[in-house]
Symmetry: C2
Amino acid sequence: DTRVIAFANQKGGVGKTTTAVNLAACLAERGRNILLIDLDPQANATSALGVEKQQDHSVYQPLLGNGSLQDQIIHTTLKHLDLIPSELDLAGAEVDIARSERYLHCFREILLPLLDHAPYDYVFLDCPPSLGILTCNGLTAAHALMIPVQCEYLALEGLSMITRLIRQLNTSGANPGLELDGIVMTMFDTRTNLASQVLEEVKKHFGDRVYETYIPRSVRLSEAPSYGQAITLYDSRCTGAQAYRALAREFIRRHKPD
Amino acid sequence: DTRVIAFANQKGGVGKTTTAVNLAACLAERGRNILLIDLDPQANATSALGVEKQQDHSVYQPLLGNGSLQDQIIHTTLKHLDLIPSELDLAGAEVDIARSERYLHCFREILLPLLDHAPYDYVFLDCPPSLGILTCNGLTAAHALMIPVQCEYLALEGLSMITRLIRQLNTSGANPGLELDGIVMTMFDTRTNLASQVLEEVKKHFGDRVYETYIPRSVRLSEAPSYGQAITLYDSRCTGAQAYRALAREFIRRHKPD
Ligand SMILES: Nc1ncnc2c1ncn2[C@@H]1O[C@H](COP(=O)(O)OP(=O)(O)OP(=O)(O)O)[C@@H](O)[C@H]1O
Ligand SMILES: Nc1ncnc2c1ncn2[C@@H]1O[C@H](COP(=O)(O)OP(=O)(O)OP(=O)(O)O)[C@@H](O)[C@H]1O
Ligand SMILES: [Mg+2]
Ligand SMILES: [Mg+2]
């Protein structure tokens, strides 16, 4: 069974794309089959994997009922990692689908046929920094949500907004089964007290749902997208690559069938 | 005449709030009268100034036609700096106003009466990380736009989206007079090549619309919001405070009537 994981947090710049791309790359390296779907009109996941944005190559047309999602799948340079890219027009989707009756379910309805034939262990959804219609569509289609949290004070404040939304999607029936997969602490700067204070605070509220592996701040991680490469290709031995490999190991441990 | 400046960039975490809050604080320190309006449901500008979020204290009710924007103004601990805070319910505004005919103009229509009586030199608008209805309302009401850009590769890619939007608002007649006030480079890490490469690239495209003053990465700037203080109060002598004071001086020079 394919498991669908959304990477979402309305706070901007917390490492959603960096985590979705590099965790996917590290799982692919271990032979897991991954499909990454870029739901952000900014198309950062698309460019971070070295793929050019192209008109009509995204979830946009299938969301409007034109063609299937499977047709949008492309292979990346990494074995076992496929991508559905994003495009600029996707920004218009929010207004286009807002008017339809089942506007929260549009994405899930096009994803289900893909999952029926899919050879994937995991489908990752990279969401934009908002709790708007695109993110809500992703959360309605997902089995679980991973929340990257930057080790900064302002990132702490927004956590209650996204966890509130999970409860709303559960109770409203839009996605009763949606659960919190976990919280990943990112851009941890070992030199500052602030980072450890934020980490403590998050652990206090979320306990063991906080992944033990945290991602340190590492300039190699922010350089890799400019070469269109996941960290495992760009600089396989750097601290960023090691951290995402450790995260992949912990992810597999947490997802083992009991 | 009061000038309205929006701080917007759909890329998340680039320093919109940090720049709006601290530039406002540095201009207030020089005796300019500033009103900061928090248009982001995350309410980061509100908490960065030490103000509690409260239900019905934001632009939300006035946007729906209940009460005036002037009634929402509160004083901050800083002389010459007033705030209209944000609240969680503001997230619902996008859906509420999307259905109205003139959905792009709702905010401008409630701002105009405020500007008629306002004692402010500048009104700053802190926008959320998206080009959705709240940001577009801010841009429709603004005279000019300041775009904070993080010195990172992924932040570079999104610049064309926001500049395209300015042109669309100009040509569609929504806001023919909207101009680019300038681009402010933030979180400049002097230790990496990446930052200088991004700076060069932005200067190549935008020339002298890039502010000469850039803001260095400084942990004091990310600590200040956890104390609810602008940098001028939290640590007046640190590099972050000096950088925003230099930015305030350059801002005043650029805005001098010819
Ligand atoms: N561990 C890290 N160390 C250093 N830089 C990082 C790290 N993780 C991410 N970055 C950089 O920080 C910036 C923000 O990360 P990213 O774009 O992944 O966040 P995001 O949450 O996806 O942003 P958005 O809200 O715009 O979608 C990027 O420039 C990225 O390269
Ligand atoms: N020059 C700087 N040096 C160090 N940290 C900074 C600097 N500027 C901002 N920060 C920190 O980086 C994070 C992102 O900044 P900020 O929240 O201002 O960006 P934003 O663009 O308003 O984010 P959002 O897209 O979520 O609205 C915050 O935690 C902030 O404290
Ligand atoms: Mg992203
Ligand atoms: Mg902000």
